[in-house]
């Protein structure tokens, strides 16, 4: 299945999806040293986004989220790609600086189509999301 979306940061990525239908801050919600979601009582507390395609609504919280994403990427603990409903500027600047292929504004409700564990491929330069068809 092919879904059109809007490019935030170009490039290609693929991986297993982690889906969170909420707002996410890479500073505070993610432990950059492990790649796991660390905010106490977060619905996905303990889940790793390292090497995954992370699907969420948009960014939130501190303007330092981009630095946390940068640190996670340096340690190999960042998502390989991001799909969100509508990227906000802190998230956009973070993925552009860190070089994480990212798309937003998918043409359909992404939360009805992508489930955690699905294999997802992004061609952010072309603005395309593909679900399934693992090339593992």
């Amino acid at each position: 299945m092919v879904i059109r979306a809007h490019r935030i940061c170009g490039g290609k990525a693929e991986g297993e999806a982690v889906v969170y239908q909420g707002l996410f801050s890479f500073l505070g919600d993610l432990d950059p040293a492990t790649g796991r979601i660390c905010l106490p009582r977060h619905p996905l507390e303990g889940v790793s986004v390292a090497g995954k395609v992370f699907v969420f609504v948009t960014g939130k919280g501190s303007g330092g989220s981009d630095v946390a994403l940068w640190a996670a990427k340096k340690k190999g603990n960042a998502p390989v790609g991001i799909v969100c409903r509508e990227s906000e500027p802190v998230l956009s600047g973070g993925v552009i600086a860190a070089g994480i292929p990212t798309v937003d504004r998918p043409e359909i409700n992404i939360f009805e189509r992508i489930k955690t564990g699905d294999w997802v491929r992004i061609d952010a330069t072309e603005g395309v999301i593909r679900i399934g068809g693992a090339s593992r």
Binding site: L23, L39, K60, G63, V67, P89, G93, G94, A97
Partner: protein, 418 residues
């Protein structure tokens, strides 16, 4: 995207690779949000010490100064941490000193605060000021009517280096009207402290599903500065809000109709007792009553907050460590007033640095095995980050609850009855 002749020259100028890279980053950010062009800044604000050193070096290479003013967020304070005997202070020193040296060589202003408006450095209505720090962004947008879009630490350095920022988001007047209107029901705000407003702001941030503008309607007019600030700055902790009109208080919102979209697209949300009770509970991440540390001044304390703390401490001694985040000029005023001495005699400490994300007493990478594992605070933002960044057990309450905890080492704060 349109680029001016000067911007094109910046992109071609290989003698100043930092400025070229900075402009490239801003252009990519602008394009990702379909901005038509960049605009010159009134001034800019960075968070130099929170920038990764490789990024800092890359953006400032070959840059020898800027024609516009640049100020900064709090930095780290390894020198003071060392005086306080925090075990890993030394490890932070080299990088901090290298970045500070370059910062000073750029001729930038060492304000080191997240509440720069308290120093008399604040934007006029309509000023374009790209800045690091979500809580100063929302304060400058909402309380002063500046045009500030949400922006991360990394692009804010790029904007400071080039003196340009993308014309997008909240820089555009048509994007500054409220998508969400919040009103209180079944609660009486008469006896509210700033902590109650922190709680309301955190609650509102949680209710808005993305980057949207809000208005808060029905509060008493001309809210005291500490209350209005507490309300707006808590929103970008739990949410993505960077502009909150407080009707009857903030400059763009003399009335609701002045800021509301006035059509069916506006969402009206009522906040009641139950919402505030749940939020207060969410901000208390504790499972014990033991308190080892108290963090106040998040964002950096106003002189009024320091006055309240000093009065509450009186001649008492504290059992916990107590950190008050405050800028150097505000601390100096507290010292002239005799309040700093009262607080320090009790055992409290001032730091012109971040008492939440960068709190040296709770962060294991600074205080090692001396790390405080539980902490109390009067700030929703601080509660959130002490818990998530430091992994501390956190208590959230009023100034009075926090000072009692500092004196006794135990938390006795009760949630408000609203």
């Amino acid at each position: 995207m349109y680029l001016s002749e000067e911007e094109k020259r910046m992109l071609d100028d290989n003698r100043c690779p930092g400025r070229r890279r900075a402009l490239e980053l801003l252009v990519r950010l602008a394009e990702s949000h379909d901005a038509e062009r960049l605009v010159p800044v009134s001034y800019a604000h960075v968070a130099y010490d929170f920038c990764p050193e490789d990024f800092w070096n890359s953006m400032t290479e070959g840059v020898h100064g800027t024609p516009h003013r640049v100020t900064t967020h709090p930095s780290f304070s390894p020198e003071i941490w060392e005086q306080w005997g925090l075990p890993h202070a030394e490890a932070w020193r080299g990088e901090h000193e290298r970045k500070l040296k370059k910062f000073m060589a750029l001729g930038w202003l060492r304000t080191e605060t997240c509440a720069e408006y308290l120093l008399g450095i604040f934007p006029h209505k309509g000023d374009i000021v790209p800045m690091a720090g979500s809580c100063m962004q929302i304060a400058n947008n909402s309380l002063f009517g500046a045009r500030v879009d949400r922006m991360g630490t990394l692009p804010s350095l790029a904007a400071a280096v080039c003196g340009r920022t993308p014309l997008m988001g909240l820089l555009l007047p048509e994007n500054r009207r409220a998508d969400y209107v919040f009103e209180l029901e079944d609660v009486d705000v008469t006896d509210w402290t700033p902590s109650h407003y922190h709680c309301l702001g955190y609650c509102i941030g949680n209710r808005v599903p993305g980057y949207r503008v809000v208005a808060v309607n029905g509060l008493p007019p001309n809210l005291p500065f500490d209350a209005a600030r507490a309300l707006v700055i808590s929103m970008p902790t739990s949410g993505t809000i960077a502009l909150a009109h407080v009707v009857g208080t903030t400059p763009e919102a003399p009335t609701l109709s002045a800021v509301s979209r006035g059509d069916a697209s506006v969402n009206l949300i009522k906040i009641g007792k139950k919402d505030l009770q749940t939020t207060w509970e969410m901000l208390n991440f504790q499972d014990t009553d033991r308190v080892e540390h108290v963090a106040l001044g998040c964002p950096h304390a106003t002189i009024d907050e320091i006055g309240r703390i000093s009065a509450l401490l009186g001649g008492r001694k504290i059992k916990t460590s107590l950190l008050i985040g405050a800028s150097a000029p505000v601390e100096a005023l507290a010292r002239r007033q005799g309040w700093a001495e009262t607080i320090e005699k009790a055992g409290g400490r001032f730091l012109p640095a971040c008492p939440s994300i960068g709190n040296p007493f709770t962060r294991g990478d600074i205080s090692g095995d001396k790390r405080a594992k539980s902490a109390a605070t009067n700030s929703a933002r601080c509660a959130h980050y002490l818990s998530s960044v430091s992994g501390a057990k956190v208590f959230f309450g009023t100034d009075e609850d926090c000072i009692n905890a500092a004196v006794t080492g135990r938390w006795k704060g009760e949630p408000p009855t609203w």
